[in-house]
Symmetry: D3
C-alpha cells in the first residue's frame, strides 16, 4: 500500500462475491492495475458462507484475493462488505467502509446504475471469457469432481485446498432433510 | 386532509407495493373513498428499490400515490411501511406507523388473515380487471417497449418519466455478471 | 398537495422526533412555508414509542403534524423515518423514503453536516424560544401536572387528549422493577 | 426436567422447523431419548409464521413439541431459535440460547457441517420413512383436504385443530393479488 | 407440562431478565403457581450476555429458571425472548414466541401498559423485599466478594458455580482500555 | 502481505475502534510485529461514524491504520468489523470476516474473555502510556484546539487533515436542538 506517485492517489473500486476468486476476476484487476494507483477490492455478501452459492467466508475470500493480488504490482485494499438489503443506501454503505475512491469498475448493471446515480464515475469491465471463468462453473466442477484448479490463481487453489473447500461444497450441497 | 364530517373520523387502510401505482389500485381507492372519511395508503416493502420487481423507491411511490389521490375528493395519508420479516408482528408494526384506522381493505389473503387475527375489521377489495391492471404486466411492457402509460394515472406516468423510470427498469433487468 | 406554481416544484425537508410536535416546530415550518412550494416533514426515530423520551408512535405523530400543517397554506408530505443506526448512510435512507427535495432546513449540527457532506443544500432554522418550546419541557410538564396545552397547536393537544397521552407518559415514567 | 442420573447430565440437541411436528420427528426423538439424559429441542426459524412453508408460530410449535414429548420418559427443553442469517455464527447463536449440550443429532448436512466445524460431536439421525412423514407432505394434505392426523402425534393434531391451523394454511396459500 | 385440570388450561406469562434468577422472582412465581395451571416464563433480552448488567446467556438463564421451577408443583414453559427494539410490536413478538396465555403478571410499568393496550389481562406482582432480592444487588455482591448464594434458589447457585459465573462477572467488569 | 517465512504463517489479531489510530496502538502493533508473521487489524464498530465518540468512518480508519503499518516491516490485513450486538457470537463473527489466526492480543477484558471462552489463545497487550495516548484525550484536544498531532503517526495526522476531521468533530459535538 505504498503510495506509487507523488500527488493525489488515483483509486478504483471493484466488487465481487468471489466464490471463489478466479482468473476472470484476476484478468480484470490486472487491467485496472494498469490504469490507477491503488485498487480497493470489496468482498460482497461478506456475511454469507457455507451455502451452495456462497461457500466461503469473507475471511477466506480476503486471503484468496490478497494473496493473488501480490502478483500484480499494485497497492490494494481488500474490504469485506456486508449486505445491507437496501439498494438505495448501498453506495453510501460501501463508501463508509472503504478508503475514498474516484472510480468504480463493474460489469454488474445494478452496481453500474447505483454508482452512476450517486455521481461516482463508473466504467464497464467485461468479464474475460465468461463462459469459462465463472464462479458458478467452478463450484459445479468442484461438486462433480472435475478439474477446476486451472481456472483460479495458484494462491486460490492452495487456500481452498488448505481449508478443505471442496469437501465443504460437497457436504452442504447434499439434500436437506427439511 | 381536512376533516370531512363532524364527529368521529372513519379511516380505512389500504396497502400495496405500488410498483408502480396503476389504475387498478386507483379504482379500488376511488370505491373506498365513497365509503369512508379518510384513507391511509401504506407503501409496502418501502425499503426496496432498484430491483426488477421493485424498481421505485418509497419516496417515488409516495409521489405517485399522493398526486393521483388528489383527483379523488378524499383526505388521505401516504405512509411508507418497511418490511419487518415477521408476519406475527406485522399488524402491530403497521398500526404503529399509521394514524388509527377502523377498517382495512385488501384482496391479499395473508393481509386479510393477519388483520382479522388482530381483531381489525377487513373487507375484500377485488382488483379491477386484474389481467389488465397489474404491476407485473406494466413492468414487462416497460421492459419490452410497449405502451404502458394508459394503465396508470397521468400523474404516475409523469413521475416515472421525470425520474427516468423506464431506463432504470431496463438497466437493472440486464443479466448480472455474478 | 396541489402544485402551487407552474414549473419545477421547490421542496424543502425538515425532520424532528416531534415528541410532541409543538409551537416551536410550527413556527419554523410556518417560516419555511413562505419560502418553498412544498414541505416534507420527516418523523424521526419512527420505530420508537412508549419510552419516556419517545412516548408517541410514528402514526400518532403523523396525525399531530398533518393536522397542524393544515393551518399553513402549503402542500406537505409527512413521512415516518425509521432509525438506520449508521450515520454514513442516513441521508441516502431519508432520500429513498421521501419525494425529491432540493433543500433541508435544520438546526441539528449532525443533520446539517450529513446533508452538507451529501451535497444537499442546508439552511439553519433556529428554534424559536427554545427555552419555552421544547419537547423535553413539555413532557416534564405532562409528568408533573402543569399546563402544557398552550405550547402546542390545538390539533396536537386534541390528539394527545384523545389517545390518553398524558396518562401514558406518567405510566411509563414510573420506576422499572428490573 | 428432573435429573435422571447421578453425575453429569448428558444432553443432546435436535433442531427442526416442525411445521408441523410429526411422527418422523417423534420417532427420532424417541430413539435419542434412549441414549441421553436430557433433550434440547430447538424450534428453528422461530420468527417465521403465517407463510405457506411456515404456517405456525414458534409458540404454537413449542406447544406441539412439548405436549408430544411428555409421552417419552425424558427431560427436555424446547427453545425457539430465531434465524440469524449468517451460517458462520449460527452454532454460537444456538449455544447462547440453549443449556449446555455435548452432542447434536441431525440429518441436515449443513447443520452437521457447522457443528462439526465448531468442535461439537454430531450424530446422523436419518428421518424415519421420509416419504411418509414430512412437513411438506402434511401441509399439502391439509391444503387438499386429505387425512393428515395419523402422521402426527395426537397432541399435535389437537393443537392444530384448536388454533384453526388447517384454515390458516388454506387462507395463506391462496394466490396473492400483488 | 401435564395438563392439571380437565377443561381449558389457564396460563400466565411472567417475564424478567433474570441476571440472575433470585428468590424475589421465585416468590412471585410461587404465588402465581397457586392461581393458574401453567406458567410461561420469558427470558428477556435473550440475546445479551457477557455484559456487566447482563452476564449470563439465555441458555444459562433457562437452566437457572427451569431447575428452580421444579420445586414448584406447576407445569411451565421457559422461553428466551430476544429484544425487538420497538415497543409497539413487543406484545405481538412475545405472543408469537410463546404458547397462548390469558394473563400476564408484572410489576414493570411499561410491560403493564403494553399488555393492557394489547387487550391482555395484566396483574401487578410486586417484588418481594426488593431492597434485598435484586439482580443489581446480587451482581454487586459477586463483584465485591460478599455472600450472595442465600439470595437465589440452590439450583441457581449451583449453575453459576458450574459455569464460573462469578469469575466472568469480575472479568468483564474490569475497566475497558477503549 | 508477502509470506515472510516458509512453513505455516503465524498470524495475530488485534482489534480497536481507532477513533483515531494513535501512537499507543502503534507501539503495541510494533511489539506484536516482532513476534508473528502477519497481523490482522480489526476496525471495530465499523458501521459507526459522525458521532462524538466515533467520528471517523471505517474506510477512513482503514486508511489511517494501513498507511501507518507500512512503517512496520510486517504483512498485515486491515478489516472493518461491524458490531453484531450479541457478545456470545462475536468471536465467530470476527473469525468469519478475517483470515485464520492463532492468537489474539488485547487489553480489553471482555475481548480477552470472549476469545478465551472460544478456545483462542489470547495475550495481554497493555496500552503504552495510556494517560497520554488515548482516543478520548485526542478527540478532546481536537475539540479544544490543543495540539494532538504528536500523539498519532504522521500518516494519521495527514489523513485527518485531508478529510477535515477536526472540523467534523467540532461540528457534531455542538448541542443538538432535539
Amino acid at each position: 500500500m505504498r503510495q506509487r506517485k507523488a500527488g493525489r492517489i488515483n483509486r478504483a473500486f471493484y466488487i465481487g462475491r468471489f466464490q471463489p476468486y478466479h482468473l476472470g476476476h484476476h484478468t480484470i484487476l490486472g487491467n485496472i492495475a494498469g490504469e490507477v494507483d491503488e485498487i480497493i477490492v470489496g468482498i460482497g455478501s461478506a456475511q454469507r458462507s457455507h451455502e451452495p452459492e456462497n461457500p466461503f467466508t469473507a475471511g477466506e475470500r480476503v486471503v484468496m484475493v490478497s494473496r493473488s493480488l501480490k502478483d500484480l504490482d499494485i497497492d490494494y485494499y481488500v474490504i469485506p462488505i456486508e449486505d445491507i438489503q437496501r439498494n438505495a443506501v448501498w453506495v453510501s454503505h460501501v463508501r463508509s467502509m472503504t478508503p475514498y475512491f474516484d472510480l468504480t469498475y463493474t460489469n454488474n448493471p445494478l452496481v453500474f446504475r447505483l454508482f452512476e446515480d450517486a455521481g461516482v464515475q463508473v466504467k464497464r469491465s467485461p468479464m474475460h471469457q465468461r463462459d469459462v471463468y465463472s464462479g458458478t462453473i467452478i463450484r459445479k466442477k468442484m461438486l462433480s469432481g472435475e478439474e477446476w484448479e486451472h481456472l483460479v490463481p495458484d494462491a486460490v487453489a492452495e487456500t481452498i485446498d488448505k481449508i478443505g473447500g471442496v469437501k465443504r461444497i460437497r457436504e452442504i450441497a447434499r439434500d436437506d432433510v427439511g
